[in-house]
Symmetry: C2
Subunit: 417 residues, 2 copies
């Protein structure tokens, strides 16, 4: 089956927004076993949209279209579709009813402009919009079925998930009985992950691998289409493949469930009923921010002291003045005392600390940009280590420093488990 | 002039990565006065790439192509181009020389696979890659000039900025004499910004507006093509337009130079030779992280206490135990004492604090998700205020809380200036 995606809207072509919808839809279609052959973005112009729809109708079997269903004059997709389909726009009673209900629920006034959104091609079938006003629709043109969805990501996603997906599964007898296992990998580049997992497809026929680089981790998906298979057998098969992948990725898998490092550390702390304090210099609050992005983190995360100044390191965390004078702020001894200080001050079970040079300035020959000292303090163990990374970018350095600190804690937590 | 963008690579069609290159290139072309009519993404398949190049060569005047220039077997763009151009690949001595120099500088071994990257269509002209190994090139096919660049954003960007842009300007006598003014707007939605600036185009002919929503701010660009104009006159014209826009956006402009709120607050603190401490509960380190993403922030940012637990608020920031017992953690009095405590402990001129409910859990009828108390303490002024926002999302709430806290400080700093 040949699938295309057509994204409409001037804002993409003007560079004002990045088209994230298409990547989302590609990934959803891939999970259904459908490969997308082409993504096209065009502006808000009736003739252009209509001629692209006509072209696609002769070359693809399905096409997902996003954007241009709103109430303003720029929103021309339904009209362009009716032109390409040699159809006419008619007021859809179903769409009107659904829209009035939506407006009523929110106490908005229903205007004449909104009525335009209920004008759909006569041969189309409406798709409900649960998150907004513009209804979607689908329609066959030549050999291709077109699904028209809004451009607002939250509206598009729910329309795809709840409706388009089901129509596709039913219409094409697709296989949505899909098992997916996710691994989060840290410490290997994407090409290295690919190289280590070479031979997977031959060893596990019927399964697919997907990779997504999300600096500094690589997310690995193992996908098994389990339709027409015994469920239990399929589960065993994918568990086997997962074990194989984990063995080949050695000790670089930070989560066997595809969690972020902060989620995984949080999970381990919860499981072990332990609490955490942090002392950050060069990461500047990033570790605390990552930890507190996880809902429920107040159960185990107590405190982070972002001590950018030496005085704060001394007065708030209790680092010895002599340590700073003798060794400087970027030193394992300082990192160690920061972690120990944060742990004691917050009354936490564990503490991690960072002090280093994120750059772009502040590096020296002995302490170059990319160098970081990471401290770890626990009830029966305290140690600091130095790491050196080679990114030129301040934000990348902060990110990799934060990741390395959390990874040190994670390894400690699984060892003592 | 009709411009198309062709992005190649399986990873985009698989949904593994989001195509940010095309948005970047659209925005660059727009600044040169060139509108992009179509963006196409296709996979790593020679026939598909070649047939798309052929189509585009008959429909566009220029086309920017990204991806597929690497050393692996997937990288087929140069070959596809040679097919579409009815040309052959030849070893480019210039490319080879540039690549060997790049490898030597970094101490990498030059392999046979890399030599493939120096094979370019015989009729093409090479483009230097300053940030990687794969050279780019440009070539005329039918009515269209194609520019081939790598898919890695850092390599593509520098190739466009330093070379492709100049070729375009020279070849088409374009106008790179562009004046741009940037405003950062907070507290208004994108449609509201558009509505407030209605009439701009009529009032300032020859100038364009661009908007980019970057939650929670809207970035506004005022663009003036100043070619064939007296430079000083053009400067005055755009200054006039900027003043008009700022008047219409009332007090919602947080930076007149398009800076982020953290950069703007940092700029004001530097200007006034003042220092900052922060006390964060619900923002969990996000404010400190935003501040320390700015290089040079160690000049004014001293400390942030991320006090998630009540004990940390009491023991580290010196909040009164009685305050927490009487009023709870989310209260203006607590926020006030947090800010005052952080200011004194760090010896800073100013401090801001946040305590609230980021959600999704933890809300009550009196203290719903989205409520935040923000404290501000200075040498002659201390006050806390309550704000309520209505996002359902934890990360959006953290972001808007952080933004609101920094905006309060910014307003205070410009008032006392």
């Amino acid at each position: 089956m040949i699938a295309h995606i057509l994204s409409t809207g001037d804002e993409v072509l003007l560079g004002d927004i990045i088209d994230t919808n298409s990547a989302y839809l590609c990934s959803c279609l891939k999970e259904l076993g459908i490969d997308v052959q082409k993504i096209i973005s065009v502006g808000d112009d009736v003739e252009t949209i209509a001629s692209n729809i006509s072209d696609i109708s002769l070359n693809a079997d399905i096409c997902l279209v996003t954007g241009g269903l709103g109430p303003t004059q720029d929103d021309l997709t339904a009209f362009a579709c009716s032109k390409a389909a040699d159809d006419e726009l008619v007021l859809s009673k179903k769409a009107l009813k659904s829209m009035t209900a939506y407006f009523k629920k929110r106490g908005f006034a229903f205007t004449k402009e909104n009525e335009k959104q209920a004008m759909l091609p006569s041969k189309s079938i409406m798709l409900e919009n649960y998150n907004g006003t513009a209804p979607g629709f689908y329609i066959s043109i030549n050999q291709c079925v077109f699904f028209f969805m809004p451009g607002v990501p939250s509206e598009m996603k729910i329309m795809f998930e709840r409706q388009v997906k089901n129509v596709l599964i039913k219409k094409y007898n697709l296989n949505d009985d899909i098992l997916i296992e996710r691994l989060t990998v840290f410490g290997l580049g994407e090409s290295m992950v690919g190289a280590l997992l070479k031979g997977f497809t031959e060893k596990f026929p019927g399964m697919r691998l997907g990779f997504r680089a999300n600096f500094p981790v690589i997310e690995v998906k193992i996908i098994l289409s389990a339709a027409h298979q015994d469920k239990q057998k399929a589960q065993l098969k994918i568990a086997d493949a997962k074990k194989w992948a984990m063995d080949h990725l050695e000790n670089k898998v930070v989560s066997e469930q595809g969690l972020s490092i902060a989620q995984e550390v949080g999970r381990l702390l919860t499981q072990q009923k332990k609490t955490l304090a942090i002392a950050e210099s060069c990461t500047g609050g990033l570790i605390a921010n990552m930890m507190t992005n996880v809902s429920g983190s107040s159960d185990y995360f107590l405190f982070s002291g972002i001590t950018y100044s030496n005085d704060a390191k001394i007065n708030i965390l209790g680092v010895q003045k002599k340590t700073i004078i003798d060794f400087g702020a970027v030193h394992e001894q300082t990192a160690l005392e920061m972690a120990q200080g944060a742990r004691v001050k917050a009354g936490a079970d564990f503490a991690i600390s960072t002090t280093g040079i994120a750059g772009p300035t502040g590096g020296t020959k002995e302490r170059p940009v990319g160098m970081v000292c990471i401290g770890l303090a626990g009830p029966s163990f305290s140690k600091a280590k130095t790491y050196t990374f080679s990114f030129d970018d301040r934000l990348m350095n902060k990110t990799i420093f934060a990741m390395a600190a959390l990874e040190r804690l994670r390894r400690h937590l699984i060892r003592i488990r």
